[in-house]
Every structure is written in structure tokens, then in C-alpha cells.
């Protein structure tokens, strides 16, 4: 059991070192999320009061859109030089590959959020007056669920030729309950409403995270067996 974690850490470390050397994916993700913010500024006039209403949704829209870019690369990059076969034939539990990829993707998306969410607040002139603790907790739970399902489906769609197109089509319907919970919880926290309401949404997110993590952890083996 402990070997799963150490193997996962090795794989995550490999991915992250590779990423911080080239900075290709993460650069793209940051620029892309900035572009999404720009496009949304045309859709919703940032100078009027509407901003407060759309900010919680925007936080998640940029996370999901930029995240999908990174998730796409997560397994496709392993196809070069047939590295995936190497991973598959390595004497490790397939679940540790999944866990490692989840860790790596989560770190990537968290770094992107660290840049893009402050940029969003600054560009839309939003003054953050809420509790940091709850906001970060909700971001954590939502992003974790997104990455759990996203990494799994990224491995699934890497088998297809048109995987870049397939991934969003598979991922977005599955994310819908998580996104509802995340947006609602974020809205409650940002509008400084009673935290008790956000807690029930957090519970839903936690249940989603746990359920899908369990299912993906077990089923990942079948994805690696294939081909």
C-alpha cells in the first residue's frame, strides 16, 4: 500500500519536473485563462454591478477550461516514444499511475488558479472581503473533484485519435453536479452569506470527490490493460 504512494509521488515528480523545465503546458493554461477572462469581459460589462453575480461562475469556468487544456496533455504526452507502454509494463500498481497523474495535474491547475483568480479579481475590479479559509477550502474540494474525474477520462480518451475533442464531451456532463455545488458554494462565500449553507454544498462536493475517487481508483486498472 505504501508503495502505491511512493510510486505515485515518483510519477508526479517526473511530470512536474518535466513541466517546470519546459513550462509549455502551464504557460498555455495561464494565457488561456487570461483570454477567457478577456472574452468574458466583452460578454458581461465589467464596469456595472453584474460583476458580483458572475464572478463565482467565472472562477470555475476559467478553472475548467484551462484545466481541460492541461488534462489533454497529461496522457497524450506519454504517447510519444511509447512511454505509456513503459509505465504500463513497470512493476507498479496501475492505481499509482493514476494517483501520480492526479497529483501532478492538481498541482498544475492549482498553480494556474493561483495566478488566474487574482487576475480575474483585479481585472473585474472585485474586492475580496470574504473568509480566505472557506474560499480556499471550496476551491480545493472543487478542483480536486474536477481533476479526479478529468485525469481518469483523459486516460480514457487518450486511446482515441481525436482525444482533444473527446475529453470535454465526456468530462463536462460528468462534472455538472460538482460544478453546481462549487459555483453555489463559491457564491455563498463571496457574498458573505451564512456559511452554514455553503457547508452542505461542501459536503456534496466531498461525497462526489470520495465516490469518484474510489470508482476511478478501482477502474483505472481496466484502462491500462487495454490495447
Amino acid at each position: 500500500m505504501t508503495s502505491i504512494f511512493s510510486d505515485a509521488l515518483t510519477i508526479a515528480g517526473k511530470d512536474l519536473r518535466n513541466e517546470f523545465k519546459s513550462k509549455q503546458t502551464i504557460g498555455m493554461m495561464v494565457i488561456f485563462s487570461a483570454l477567457v477572462i478577456l472574452v468574458f469581459s466583452f460578454a458581461f460589462d465589467p464596469t456595472n454591478n453584474m460583476v458580483r453575480a458572475v464572478i463565482p461562475g467565472l472562477v470555475w469556468v476559467i478553472t475548467v477550461f484551462a484545466g481541460i487544456l492541461g488534462l489533454n496533455r497529461s496522457f497524450i504526452s506519454e504517447l510519444e516514444n511509447d512511454s505509456l507502454t513503459g509505465l504500463r509494463s513497470a512493476p507498479i500498481d496501475p492505481a499509482s499511475i493514476y494517483l501520480g497523474k492526479v497529483l501532478a495535474n492538481f498541482t498544475l491547475v492549482a498553480v494556474v488558479q493561483l495566478i488566474s483568480i487574482p487576475v480575474l479579481f483585479i481585472l473585474f475590479g472585485y474586492r475580496f472581503t470574504s473568509s480566505y479559509f472557506w474560499f480556499i477550502l471550496i476551491l480545493f474540494a472543487g478542483t480536486l473533484g474536477f481533476i479526479i474525474v478529468g485525469t481518469f477520462l483523459s486516460a480514457l480518451s487518450a486511446n482515441a485519435k481525436n482525444s482533444e475533442m473527446l475529453l470535454p464531451v465526456l468530462l463536462l456532463p460528468l462534472l455538472s453536479p460538482l460544478m453546481i455545488a462549487a459555483v453555489q458554494a463559491t457564491r455563498i462565500v463571496l457574498e458573505n452569506e451564512e456559511i452554514q449553507n455553503a457547508v452542505s454544498w461542501l459536503q456534496l462536493m466531498a461525497a462526489y470527490d470520495l465516490l469518484f475517487f474510489g470508482a476511478c481508483f478501482i477502474l483505472f486498472e481496466f484502462l491500462m490493460e487495454g490495447s
Binding site: L153, L204, C216
Partner: protein, 236 residues
């Protein structure tokens, strides 16, 4: 084997056709008219029937997905796929009939109400599932990938429903009352019989389509095998 399955198909067919006509008679002539909505309410019988089959088909997909993962067999793989295809068809029908009915009784084509959104998301999951099945590769590989997605998708449906219910109950409390017929509670016995009969008919239709679809897929598989065999012989 082939003979007996032919007999079952025939039997199903001869049950299906008359019960279709009986259902039509029950719906349009025998059952009483709804007081408030009038004739529009007749779509209710089709709507509930198709929606029921849509959820049944999804359940079947989930069931055969688990079975395929336990032991990959061509038959199970085919049943899951055919059921998903029929499911897309019936989900579309349920959504369309619901929209027509909603336009007539709620005066809007679409309302963001738990059951509607759940059905819509179900439709998207079905379509995504069919996309996976259209991938290139050996059927064993696709069987595994699609079954995995089928299971994850089936897990998702109850969570979607719960999430949307919470979401909506916060925004606006129950607007449309319990039950879709808006009668406030209770339903005429004639209506209930008609409803049950039309659900029965549509379920028979589903089973019939399922068997036909599976037969076509099996034939396709036989043709594919014969083709590769012939190609190999030509090549050597």
C-alpha cells in the same frame, strides 16, 4: 437457437402491434380529458412511457457494463451498445414531448427543473458513451473503455439529480406541485390504466428494438469476421 429466438421475436411483434393500437384507443378515445389542460395532457402518456424507457435503458447499459468488465463477452458488449442507442432515441423523445407539453401547460419550452436537467445530462452522457464506442480499435479494448465510462456515468445520475434538487429548492420552492399531471394529487383510475398500458406497450417496444438491434449487431460482427478472413486469404 435461431428458431426459438425467431419465435420470441414473432411473439413480441404480435403482442406489440395490437397493444399499440389499444394504447392509441385508450389514450385518445377511452381515457377522460383532463380538466385544466384539455387535449394537450394526452402527450403525458407518451412522455412518461418514453422517459421510463430512457431510464430503464440507462440502467441496462450500466448493468451490461459491469458484466462486460467482469467477463468481456461480445453479447454483453452488444447489448450495452444497443441499449444506449435506444436510450438516446427515447431520451430525445422524452425531452421533445416534455418540451411540447411544457410549452402548452407552463407556457415555456424549457424550465430548469431537476427532472428536466437530469434527463438532459443523461442524454449527454449517453451520447458521450456512443462516441467512445465509435472509437477505432479492437472490440475488447472499446468494450473495456466504454464499460468503464458506462459505470462512471451511471454513478453520476443520482448525484446530478440530488445536486439540482438542492440547487433549485434554494432558488424557488416547489412550483409545479407533486406529480407532473398537476392535478394536485391523485389521478383518475381510467387515466392510470391508460398510463400503465402505454408504459407497458413502450417497454415491449424497447425489448423488441433491443432484440432487433442486437441481431443486426451480431450479423455485423459475423460479416466483419468473414471479411477479415477473406482479406487474410487474399493476402496470403
Amino acid at each position: 437457437m435461431i428458431k426459438s429466438s425467431g419465435k420470441i421475436d414473432k411473439l413480441l411483434f404480435y403482442i406489440l402491434v395490437p397493444s399499440m393500437f389499444i394504447a392509441m384507443y385508450l389514450i385518445f378515445i377511452w381515457s377522460p380529458q383532463e380538466k385544466v389542460m384539455g387535449e394537450v395532457q394526452k402527450i403525458f402518456y407518451f412522455h412518461v412511457g418514453t422517459a421510463w424507457v430512457a431510464f430503464l435503458a440507462f440502467f441496462v447499459v450500466g448493468f451490461y457494463s459491469v458484466m462486460t468488465l467482469i467477463k468481456p463477452k461480445m453479447n454483453r458488449f452488444i447489448y450495452a451498445g444497443v441499449s444506449a442507442e435506444i436510450g438516446v432515441l427515447f431520451t430525445t423523445l422524452a425531452l421533445l414531448t416534455g418540451m411540447i407539453w411544457g410549452r402548452a401547460s407552463w407556457n415555456t419550452w424549457w424550465s430548469w427543473e431537476p427532472r428536466l436537467i437530469t434527463t438532459l445530462i443523461l442524454w449527454f452522457i449517453y451520447v458521450a458513451y456512443l462516441f467512445i464506442r465509435k472509437m477505432e480499435g479492437s472490440w475488447e479494448k472499446i468494450a473495456k473503455l466504454s464499460s468503464v465510462f458506462g459505470i462512471i456515468g451511471a454513478l453520476n445520475v443520482p448525484i446530478v439529480f440530488m445536486a439540482i434538487r438542492w440547487w433549485n429548492s434554494k432558488l424557488h420552492p416547489v412550483v409545479f406541485g407533486e406529480g407532473k399531471n398537476q392535478s394536485g394529487g391523485g389521478i383518475e383510475p381510467e387515466m392510470l390504466i391508460t398510463l400503465l398500458f402505454s408504459i407497458f406497450t413502450i417497454t415491449i417496444l424497447y425489448i423488441f428494438l433491443m432484440r432487433k438491434g442486437a441481431q443486426i449487431e451480431k450479423m455485423r460482427d459475423i460479416v466483419r469476421k468473414a471479411k477479415t478472413k477473406a482479406m487474410n486469404r487474399l493476402a496470403s
